[in-house]
């Protein structure tokens, strides 16, 4: 019976998608493949930002609604670092480090004192996101900041079949996302700290009982999660742009990615990011005024049939 339903749902979802893909390729193959690449590169950015969100949530049950602010902060830091030093790699490092430091301060200064009060922690992150957003607008202004891609990634890559040319920078996001994913996987599965984090996701109290300094693990995880948001911010500063309001957009993306993928699961974040990225770009390309509806329909379908997300486990 379960097998039947799996087939049934694969058909119900798969057939219309396949029909759409065939129609779109026959109609305008170039548009279809460019949208595919756009979707995948956007997914890569979403994955980087949302993996930090899901990491923090999985371990601490802290829904960090200031995650978008950390993203924007990382973007601004990267922008000014690149402006003064001219180095993109340095900008990435600055974005990661700056956001990680702020995240660390949040965990050590505030959340450590409200362990287990999830709702209160979430409300505090809401308050922080309002304050951060306004402080950044005060310090930097409301105008759009667009960062230039580094020289070695600037300009289009020519000679790709069907598409002809595609931005080198955007294409490079794919390997960056994959590398981040692999590094995160190695960190979580092959290092001692990663082992502690995974153990903490499963059972915090047992981890504490076995002699691990849980506060330290929490601080490290929060710093990494926040750092990933800042890292994503620097990438997003080139791919999208930085302006007040982008924090909400990326926060929404992170929320949907982890709700769809399953909260606390890094692999789930990858799956959710690909689904959301593709849905958003195809929606924008083929039905511009209703593109949000697709995102919403995906959210509704997942909540209706897999309330814990595609790869989520019981809390």
């Amino acid at each position: 019976m379960a097998k039947f339903w799996r087939w049934f749902w694969s058909l119900v979802i798969g057939v219309p998608l396949a029909v759409f893909a065939v129609w779109a390729m026959w109609d305008n193959a170039r548009l279809f493949f460019i949208t595919l690449l756009n979707g995948l590169t956007l997914s890569s950015l979403y994955f980087i930002v949302a993996s930090g969100f899901t990491l923090v949530f999985g371990l601490m049950r802290n829904v960090n609604l200031a995650h978008g602010s950390l993203y924007l902060l990382g973007g601004y830091l990267g922008y000014f670092t690149a402006q003064y030093s001219g180095s993109f790699v340095l900008a990435l490092a600055a974005g990661f480090a700056g956001a990680a430091l702020v995240g660390l301060a949040m965990q050590v200064g505030i959340f450590r004192f409200m362990q287990g009060q999830e709702l209160r922690q979430t409300m505090v992150t809401i308050g922080l996101s309002i304050v951060f957003a306004d402080l950044m607008m005060w310090a930097i202004g409301a105008q759009v900041h667009q960062m230039d891609a580094p020289a070695w990634l600037d300009g289009p890559l020519r000679g790709i079949p069907l598409i002809n040319a595609y931005s080198k920078y955007r294409l490079s996001l794919l390997p960056i996302g994959i590398i981040i994913g692999v590094l995160l996987w190695l960190f979580l599965n092959r290092t001692r700290v990663g082992m502690m984090i995974r153990a903490g996701v499963d059972d915090r109290q047992m981890l504490a009982a076995s002699g691990v300094n849980v506060n330290l693990v929490f601080a490290v995880t929060f710093a990494i999660g926040a750092g990933l948001a800042g890292f994503g911010g620097v990438i997003g500063a080139v791919e999208l742009s930085m302006v007040p309001g982008e924090d909400v957009r990326l926060l929404l993306a992170s929320l949907i990615v982890v709700i769809v993928g399953g909260m606390g699961s890094v692999v789930g974040a990858a799956v959710g990011a690909v689904i959301l990225g593709l849905a958003e770009t195809y929606g924008l390309a083929y039905a511009p005024t209703y593109s949000v509806v697709f995102t919403f329909v995906i959210l509704v379908l997942v909540m209706a049939f897999r309330p814990r997300g595609l790869l989520g486990r019981p809390a």
Binding site: L65, E118, M123, G127, V131, M263, V292, T295, F296, L299
Partner: protein
């Protein structure tokens, strides 16, 4: 739930006091003697009469600006926040989509009724007595749908899902031009003229808002003592036990969303008439969060909390320009919210109760009389 079941549930537990998680008010003697009169009058206390009298006198003393800008706006926002207090404080489900529900009602009043949408003619031009009930009904349906979505997972997930739904609705309004008229939204959404009274004028509008706020307040107060409300509070405190007692937890939660949706929708209609326009900005993230700020600021432990929170919020918003740079309003409101959440999780009401405790501890002898004449 039948009366027999209800009695059983009451007798099985420690009763309402334990369920609602706070002690019953002590030392408050009814102002009017009970003697055979309806129990409605028995519940009236001095502070109720004082507040009501103040509310009725207020618009005749204050300038029209204050009546409209502060009085009416606080009431409309308070009504929307009241729906969140009902859901969050008594149902244990903190929903960030209450402004979305209110926004749906507001948009529908504009779409079904009369409004001017600069170049496109979207509004259907229904009369108000058809458009407003329809808007509230559809908004309540949407609220039930949002509830159905978010109660499928528990606790902390609710806030994420409702935020996602709310922000998605904001982007839909922003991007869609055929129904929601995109960035522009709808202008000139005005309260109608009924019985020869132009309800757009400050004084009538204040009384309209006051009437519906009082109606919402007493409706929520009534509901909290009705079997449904008590069951809801039981579900908040221990869903598993309530489930074991035979209550349908999911159905109660969804019904709570629908009821809160009606309250929020009425507030949304008032707010759209107050503003005279609606657009994506009215349902944006900042407003989703502002409703939470108002509810938390006042305190989620009593239905009066959101109205107190709304008054403080509106006063801050209106007079921020005199005290400091208007641009920095978000910083102030975010800071106030942060301070409340960090230091007084029960909001102004909790702060007030704390002060009271301190005061009564210092002077234990005069406790009863002191509590008796609280406004």
């Amino acid at each position: 739930m039948s009366a027999a079941q209800w009695r059983k549930a009451m007798n099985a537990g420690a009763g309402r006091v334990a369920m609602s998680g706070r002690p019953a008010p002590r030392g408050q003697t009814p102002l009017l003697a009970v003697g055979g009169l309806s129990p409605l009058l028995a519940a009236v206390r001095a502070r109720h009469v004082l507040v009501l009298a103040a509310l009725l006198v207020f618009p005749w003393v204050a300038t029209p600006f204050i009546t409209y800008q502060i009085g009416a706006q606080s009431l409309a926002l308070g009504l929307i926040a009241l729906s969140l207090t009902f859901l969050g404080g008594y149902g244990g489900m903190v929903s960030l989509a209450q402004m979305t529900v209110a926004g749906i009602a507001g948009y529908l009043v504009a779409i079904l009724g009369a409004a001017s949408a600069s170049d496109a003619s979207i509004s259907l031009g229904w009369p108000w007595w058809l458009a407003v009930p329809a808007a509230i009904a559809v908004a309540a349906l949407c609220a039930a749908f949002i509830g159905w979505l978010s109660v499928r997972t528990e606790g902390i997930y609710t806030i994420m899902i409702t935020l996602a739904v709310g922000v998605a609705f904001y982007y839909l309004c922003l991007q869609n031009y055929s129904v929601f008229n995109g960035f522009q939204g709808f202008q000139r959404v005005q309260a109608p003229t009924v019985f020869g009274i132009n309800w757009r004028e400050p004084l009538p509008f204040f009384h309209l808002a006051l009437f519906w706020s009082l109606a919402g307040y007493f409706f929520v107060k009534y509901l909290l003592r009705a079997p449904f409300g008590v069951a809801l509070q039981g579900i908040r405190d221990n869903p598993r036990r309530m489930n074991a007692l035979g209550y349908n937890v999911t159905a109660h939660r969804i019904a709570a969303y629908a009821v809160a949706g009606v309250v929020a929708a009425v507030g949304g209609v008032l707010l759209v008439w107050y503003n005279g326009l609606i657009g994506p900005g009215s349902v944006g993230t900042s407003w989703l969060i502002n409703i939470l700020v108002i509810a938390v600021l006042g305190g989620m432990r009593h239905p009066i909390g959101p109205f107190l929170g709304a008054i403080v919020f509106v006063l801050l918003q209106t007079f921020a320009i005199d005290l400091f740079d208007r641009e920095r309003f978000n910083l102030v409101i975010g800071g106030v919210f942060l301070a409340i959440v960090l230091f007084s999780p029960d909001g102004l009401l909790g702060w007030w109760a704390g002060l009271q405790r301190k005061f009564s501890n210092m002077r234990p002898a005069s406790r009863v009389s002191h509590r008796g004449d609280l406004p």
